[in-house]
Amino acid sequence: MPTVSMNVNGRQRSADIDPRTLLVQFLRENLRLTGTHVGCDTSQCGACVVQIDGEAVKACTVLALSCDGSNVLTIEGLANGNELHPMQEAFREHHGLQCGFCTPGMIMTAVDLVRRKGNNLDEKTIREELEGNLCRCTGYHNIVKAIAAGARNMASMPQSKAAE
């Protein structure tokens, strides 16, 4: 079995894996990082969104081997120690989650959205940009509010963290 090696949440990790292993399986099963979820088989729901080299990617569509040498950030690596990332804090503050299953993917997508579109996000932009993330609980109302607030609060983050 080939060996894959990547930096996940700041730690260098490697393993011998079946070549067909998806990134999401590698994270969940090899590394026991179970915050990245699988909600569908067709890259529609977005529960598995992580960042690869700073960009949001659905981890169910990527072979782990193709991430060899990459920097991967999952929901478990987003907070700064015990201090929540502003986007995590905003989801909590604005009740942007109910069952919590779509939440890691939503937050990872939202952080990427801020990277691409900046800190002042209007409702229309947020709704359009969430096209790849499904939530069945919240009706999206509070997710939209949370992302707008989280985006604003990310403006006051140190530049290095905000880039993540």
Binding site: G35, V38, Q98, G100
Partner: protein, 786 residues
């Protein structure tokens, strides 16, 4: 109200683990030495199984075992059950066909369970399943209500595929009222078939502990105790004291995780056979094929009105598709959860409803958010809207004229509404929505070539399910009370053990708010324990918006007992008469003095037991209670949908949504509003986007998120949510329940708005752009001519 007590809109305690990826769902659980199950499913909607050859699969790499229906039968594993017995008009019991966990001789829908392969890895199990050879003799299939009775018979016990032919109400009184009606409104409705689709697919890990000869099942359940009861008492896998069922964090349910399915049954049964834990995780297409679906009714309804515009009678005839097998509570949904709600918010002297439930070669249909009540609300709110239009009355005024205003109000279909103020909700909704400004907004839309419509839905539902004796008399196989245990630790922290189950509802916060409020202790000193049959003795679980009204009432009752016991301890500690002890804000005081002791001190003294005689007063501080409701609760409210249609494309855009709900007293308004938002989105999904479609051969052609249109963020608006309050008189907290209201209220609001926009009534759900475009062409021509 304290800062964290009843009524405080505080953020949720459970959220920290969810936003950091530390939730613990069933698929996150792995047991040492576990094997993986993969189910071979029927590719045919209806077929006889002549033979199954598993030899090649058994010798494939990594395979531990392959089992079929013969193995289930040989082990005398009982079939899956339907727990509510409905009797037909003629008094005969419903025709319930056998429902084996693995097919025996016949498959009845695409996705039916034919065999299970258990292997060291999931990939090996999947690969080996392809080596199983099944000799099918394909039979004709029936897939929808139109042809359900036109051909092949699905179960031997059910001639013509009839499960039951049931009715409720006084037919003679209704016929008489119709004979003298001034006006009769008639309506044909389809309540479209839906797939619940919680974002977490179902999963199970079964485990056998050889040393104690006991079973453990981790499962995605809304009611782990009910799962244990059914798997133990009916399916017969192990007695309850040797069977632990754990439902940890569960990623949404919406009804679909109430039921006991084949997969978890097989996993836990197989774990004992192979002496290894067995894990199964559903993929999304399997969820589409095999999770119980919702709705699927075809209805003819007639409403009689008199010369004053008063409703005099309602007559409803419905056919309900229950799929290929009766799921756990399927039979109750189109009967007692449906017809008793047909009175809506209205004073209707006579109601008659008849329901024919039919088998088809499709996935089982059971409760989905609202369960029967959205179907009833769709009937009454569509026909009331239509009647108003036919009579040339304002739809809001027509409703107002017919509202129930005196309480209690006994409807002709079982329910006794305890309290409410329907006009208050309507008025408030109209104010928030600015319905007065609608004509000018409509003119504005028309000036841009768009059609604009406004639709009301004045819904009522029955929650707080339910008084045990009452549902027992209607055929329920279980009581619907709830249990609670309050364990006070020696340092005064509190654990609440509840039979309710949280899968998004936020019980860890709201239940702790009640305890914090009642005992005057910090909310962080309270933890909520649920979802484990080894910790919580018994419970009935979460569905039917019952956790607040029933689950919290049980906690309330147990807290009262704890307070009474603590006062006895405090009397000894403070050397006063028990009757002189007052308890407020976490402090015990001797009436009329400044002698006091705080909560923590008394908790400690209860366990140290130095200050009282342990023979006269038992040491410790722990109480439990069961709460059996005396009535259903009746949340009600008014939703207003305003939308714009582009007649050139058929695209519908919801411009404005107002919801005013009366849920009685609220524990956490933020969480309540969140429940409303989510419910509305599901209802908008039903009205505009979602539909489970089978082709004529019984293949589900909407079996992925690519094909089944789930509401996305861009499909729904922001919502304006308001409240009115008439506290529920039948429980100590005055709670009515809020979990399903949005999904119940919203579909008719959308369709009433759409039919208002396009100017005629012939528009079925889901109102896709194609359907809306067709419906809008008349209005488009009129607009062009003007």
């Amino acid at each position: 109200m304290g800062a964290t007590g009843i009524g405080a809109a505080i953020p949720r305690k459970e959220d920290h683990r969810f936003v950091t990826g530390k939730g613990r769902y069933v698929d996150d659980i792995n047991r040492p030495g576990q094997a993986y199950a993969f189910f071979l499913r029927s590719p045919h909607a209806h077929a006889k199984i002549n033979s199954i050859d598993t030899k090649a699969a058994e010798s494939a790499p990594g395979v531990v075992a392959v089992y079929t229906g013969d193995d289930i039968a040989a082990d005398k594993v009982g079939g899956l059950i339907c727990g509510w017995l409905i009797h037909s008009k003629d008094g005969s019991p419903m025709n319930a066909g056998p429902h084996p966990a693995l097919a025996q001789g016949k498959v009845r829908y695409v996705g039916d369970h034919v065999a299970v392969v258990i292997a060291d890895t999931l990939a090996q199990a999947r690969d080996a399943a392809e080596k199983i050879e099944v000799d099918y003799e394909v039979l004709p299939a029936v897939v929808d209500l139109a042809n359900a009775q036109s051909g092949t018979q699905i179960h031997d016990v059910a001639p013509n595929n009839v499960v039951y032919d049931w009715h409720l109400g006084d037919k003679a009184a209704v016929d008489k009222a119709f004979a003298s009606a001034k006006h009769v409104t008639k309506l044909e409705l389809v309540n479209n078939r839906l797939v619940p689709n919680p974002m977490e697919p179902r999963a199970a890990v079964g485990e056998y502990e050889e040393g104690t000869d006991s079973l453990v099942l981790y499962t995605t359940s809304q009611n782990p105790h009910v799962a244990r009861l059914v798997l133990s008492a009916f399916i017969g896998l192990a007695p309850e004291h040797k069977f632990r069922v754990i439902a940890p964090d569960v990623g949404g349910g919406f009804g679909s995780k109430i039921f006991i399915y084949a997969e978890e049954t097989v996993c836990v049964w197989a774990a004992r056979k192979i002496r290894r834990p067995v894990k199964w995780n559903c993929d999304r297409t399997e969820a589409f094929l095999c999770d119980a679906h919702g709705r699927d009714h075809v209805t003819h309804a007639e409403l009689a009105t008199d010369a004053d515009g008063k409703i005099t009678a309602l007559r409803v005839s419905t056919k309900a598709n229950l799929g290929a097998y009766l799921s756990t509570f399927a039979s109750s949904v189109p009967t007692y959860l449906y017809v008793p709600l047909l009175s809506g918010q209205y004073n209707i002297p006579a109601i008659y409803g008849e329901v024919m439930a039919l088998y088809t070669n499709t996935a089982p249909v059971d409760a989905y958010r609202g369960a029967g009540r959205p179907e009833a609300t769709f009937v009454i709110e569509r026909i009331v809207e239509m009647a108003a239009r036919e009579l040339g009355m304002d739809p809001a005024e027509f409703r107002r004229k017919n509202f129930v205003t005196q309480f209690p109000h006994q409807t002709p279909v079982i329910m006794c509404y305890d309290t409410g103020d329907y006009d208050a909700s309507l008025k408030k909704a109209q104010e928030i929505h600015d319905t007065a400004g609608f004509p000018s907004r409509k003119a504005q839309s028309e000036s841009q070539g768009k059609l604009r419509g406004l639709g009301y839905s004045a819904y009522i539902e029955a929650c707080g399910i339910a008084p045990s004796a009452a549902v027992g008399s209607l055929g329920a196989g279980v009581g619907l009370w709830e249990s609670a245990e309050v364990r006070v630790n020696p340092i005064g922290t509190v654990e609440i053990l509840t039979g309710s189950h949280s899968h998004g509802q936020g019980h860890e916060t709201t239940f702790a708010q009640l305890v914090s409020d009642r005992l005057g202790i910090p909310i962080d000193n309270v933890s909520i324990v649920h979802g484990d049959t080894d910790k919580v003795q018994m419970g009935m679980g979460t569905y039917g918006s019952r956790s607040g009204a029933v689950g919290m009432s049980a906690i309330f009752k147990a807290l009262e007992k704890v307070e009474a016991k603590a006062k006895k301890v405090a009397a000894h500690v403070l050397e006063a008469a028990e009757g002189d002890i007052e308890f407020k804000d976490g402090k015990f005081t001797v009436k009329g003095t400044d002698k006091n002791a705080d909560w923590g001190t008394i908790a400690l003294q209860a366990y140290i037991a130095h200050k009282f005689n342990g023979q006269e007063l038992e040491p410790g501080l722990k109480e439990s209670a069961f709460w059996d409701p005396t009535n259903f609760t009746f949340p009600a409210g008014v939703h207003i949908c305003e939308l714009e249609v582009d007649p050139a494309t058929g695209l519908t855009t919801i411009e404005k949504w107002t919801a005013v709900d009366d849920f009685g007293n609220l524990i956490n308004p933020m969480i309540v509003e969140g429940q409303v938002h989510g419910g509305i989105a599901q209802g908008v999904g039903q009205a505009l986007l979602e539909g489970a479609i089978y082709n004529d051969e019984g293949q589900l052609i909407t079996a992925s998120f690519m094909d089944y249109c789930m509401p996305r963020a861009g499909d729904v608006p922001s919502y304006s949510v308001g409240m009115t309050t008439t506290p529920c008189p039948s429980n100590p907290l005055g709670i009515k329940g809020c979990g399903e209201a949005g999904a119940i209220a919203s579909p008719p609001a959308v369709i009433n708005a759409l039919t208002n926009a396009v100017g005629h009534e012939n528009l079925q759900m889901p109102a896709t752009p194609e359907r809306v475009w067709k419906a809008a062409q008349g209005a488009r021509l009129r607009m062009a001519a003007e």
